[in-house]
Symmetry: C3
């Protein structure tokens, strides 16, 4: 199987791709949410919590920083990003990894006519880990494949690709749900509403793929006509026996659920200003909804937000989107530690 080409590789199933990658040693790429199973999710949540605890003491901070001293990561972010970029950078810093970055292709050799494959291959020569955000769906996987082909495999983490996938955002959402429901029976059996532009929001797509790993979960998709969840994902959920309902009325759904996941409209993907014809204010979390939301329920948002959640909601203790930001940092530390095979050192600390 070693000598297969890109086209053959693309036709493999998930488990076969994993097998392909494992031929070259214990290299672990993070490409898409579908690759994570329940065991992995439980481990990563536990690891993140352990790391948060360790980092509270001075000695722990130094222990974490010593774990990957001398290792180097490349942050290749050729799509605008603040939150995810900084989150990964800080996660690397916490583990003692040194970062270099490419954010603006105008300073790069692509100007001189180099292919993207050659560019990334060059980076891989210098580093032990590549984190990449790229507008093109599937690009991270193509690079992971290429690095194996050329015999210098380096772990690749997909930090967002086009409208498609954002698996580490999904992990941080899972970790947030996990922490929030820790004393309420965990994620199993919870009812979760997803609100807004579900068609084009990759964070929701990535999270939904993960939720099939939990028992008895029920999802509500609340979206304007034309922005409802894509058919591919609905088909996937039916196959995976995940129960879901579709609707347009947010106020009706709020009293029913344990978590409300708000999203902004993704008008950067508009083709002809179609967002302007939608009354998106119906998909805002208004102050009066606080009264009908269950006392133990939570309000999530991947951020950045526009008007979906007014700033005054922030003070409600069920609004946990700012905690999501911190969780994102911890879960990325956990993920990198696992990829770089330092998870055991941490759990044994």
């Amino acid at each position: 199987m070693k000598g297969i080409d890109w086209k053959t590789f693309q036709r493999l199933r998930g488990s076969e791709k994993k097998e392909y990658f494992m031929q070259f040693g214990n290299i672990f790429h993070v490409i898409m949410s579908q690759q994570f199973d329940r065991k992995f999710l439980d481990e990563i949540c536990e690891l993140a919590t352990k790391i948060r605890g360790i980092s509270k003491g001075n000695k722990g901070v130094k222990f974490l920083q010593s774990l990957l001293q001398g290792k180097r990561a490349m942050l290749y972010f050729v799509q605008p990003s603040t939150r995810t970029f900084l989150s990964f950078m800080v996660a690397c810093q916490i583990l003692g990894i040194q970062c270099s970055e490419v954010r603006d292709t105008s300073t790069s050799s692509e100007l001189k006519g180099e292919s993207q494959e050659d560019t990334v291959r060059t980076f891989s020569s210098y580093v032990d880990l590549i984190v990449m955000r790229h507008p093109q769906a599937g690009f991270a996987e193509r690079i992971a494949f290429l690095l194996h082909q050329i015999g210098r495999p380096v772990p690749v983490i997909n930090a967002g690709s086009g409208k498609d996938q954002h698996p580490t955002q999904a992990l941080l959402d899972i970790y947030t749900l996990h922490r929030s429901f820790e004393n309420y029976g965990g994620i199993d059996g919870k009812k979760i509403a997803f609100v807004g532009d579900l068609l084009r929001g990759r964070t929701v797509r990535s999270l939904v793929y993960l939720l099939r790993n939990y028992d008895g979960v029920k999802l509500y998709f609340v979206a304007p006509k034309g922005l409802q969840m894509g058919e591919d994902l609905k088909k996937y959920m039916s196959e995976q026996k995940v129960v879901f309902e579709e609707g347009e009325d947010l106020g009706e759904v709020i009293p029913l659920v344990d978590a409300v996941y708000m999203t902004r409209i993704q008008d950067e993907y508009d083709e002809a200003g179609e967002s302007k014809r939608i009354d998106y204010s119906r998909y805002h979390f208004n102050k009066e909804y606080l009264d009908i939301l269950h006392p133990n329920a939570i309000i999530m948002h991947p951020l950045p937000r526009r008007g979906e959640i007014p700033v005054e909601i922030d003070e409600d203790r069920r609004a946990i989107y700012w905690r999501q930001v911190r969780n994102g940092m911890w879960v990325r530390v956990a993920l990198i530690a696992k990829i770089m095979q330092k998870d055991r050192d941490i759990t044994e600390y």
Copy 2:
């Protein structure tokens, strides 16, 4: 007082604002020059000198780097800057702080419609210190206030805001004066000329606020018509009993003073090319002035310069603007150490 809003906060006096911030623990923001008193200035100068000494040996360098290992700073610089940015970055490196940076808002989430408050709040989630340069006067204070409101206070340092304030530049100027007059009775009683575009130069404004802390200082404002020191500052000095004189003739003033503080014309703030109608060459430090300047006097400049000081002046030992650059680094190390409560570790070293 905890629940006050931004408008109420803005109407507070300096000491009340300080009290407000102190409610949340020992958090120290650097917002404006007016907040520094003589005791603070003397301490920071001593601390900077101590740090310079420590850093001369290899052991000292490692001691300094260990002080804040595991801490992280965000450099949020959305106005062009070389000197100040690098100076802060290096100051962090000296203390073992890891930096992340935002310099170009085009790579940030602001593109996606996020408010500046949300953007900065996101950064604050990842770091222990925020250093910010922003075109808008008062922005650093607004953020400091916001971070307290949301219960996640992180120290904020104003690294320059619009035409308004640049308090750390003022600190480095004070430190430069302090070092230069160490053997000549200190800053008290010294005569200092400020030359050039005094209306729009925030470095001069910030420094003048600090000079009220010294006894018997006399200031000379030498500026073209239309660019004289602002009325607000002159009023402030009268209230604070700081003696000053205004004039237009540089050659007349030079023999009288202990320090000449040159500045460039700030034509980036022109509204209709008014700078072009001014003969700014009258506010250049010409070579012949070296003969009439007192042998122990000093020539300062915040840099960058244009033609205000010809390069040949650099060789005169009274020209100390390049030393100002180094002083800026040391005083920022001292300031950060103080904010992060490591000043005692340093003085006891």
Copy 3:
């Protein structure tokens, strides 16, 4: 000699310039390939190999990182670059040097009318080493000279200047040749073909200057009419008794040589689209050439490439351009270690 001016300095011979710099202590600048002699090249190759070995173990990695802890470098890259920039950054990280960078002059004080000399002088205030890429030939040397003049000498490394020089690329090419021919008698006596745009490719120019240090080397310059090696270099080689031949037919030369050094067309230096009138495909390394290339010969390329070498060639074990990339990192670590006087610590490890 201390007080000489820039014009006088420029007229000095290489050995005199070196003497000038040495007056100020043991400061070592890397300006141009001509400054390296055989002894230096042998030492740097050995040092690079030693460092590669040390870095294989965890203990070695930590040893290397401790060598220059507390030192700071400025990467001043105002010309587009990915490879060289990252290579230097990573080299600094390996030795524990902290980096700051200037890549985009639009964020710098040059906007405010500052001279480049003042800008770089500012940087030199903060750091212990300056690495610079600049479009202007001779700029690195001018800065090195200036820093001596002002009494704050800091080592300067030229990381590429215009069409002129790229001495560290030449060093990595030498190191690649050195490693490849280690078991075949070394570089002495080898036949090397240079192919493509030899007129404007600074990497080839810089490498050829170094090859005069080896005995019995023979060079073949294979280039389209109008892009042949410049007269200045051919004159230099005649003086240095380096044997060379010029030609246009790549297929004819390949069977004769031990190394083929391919280059891309440098059309960014075109004055009126002259590159478009050249059939550059005649200077591509086609697959059939693999059959006529000697089994122990090597194929080099400074990268980035366009079509000069098809991707399928990469799999041939004589294609070593990706190894060049890694060699570049190691040789830069060695060079910086030598400049910062840590070479003995390394060889004694």
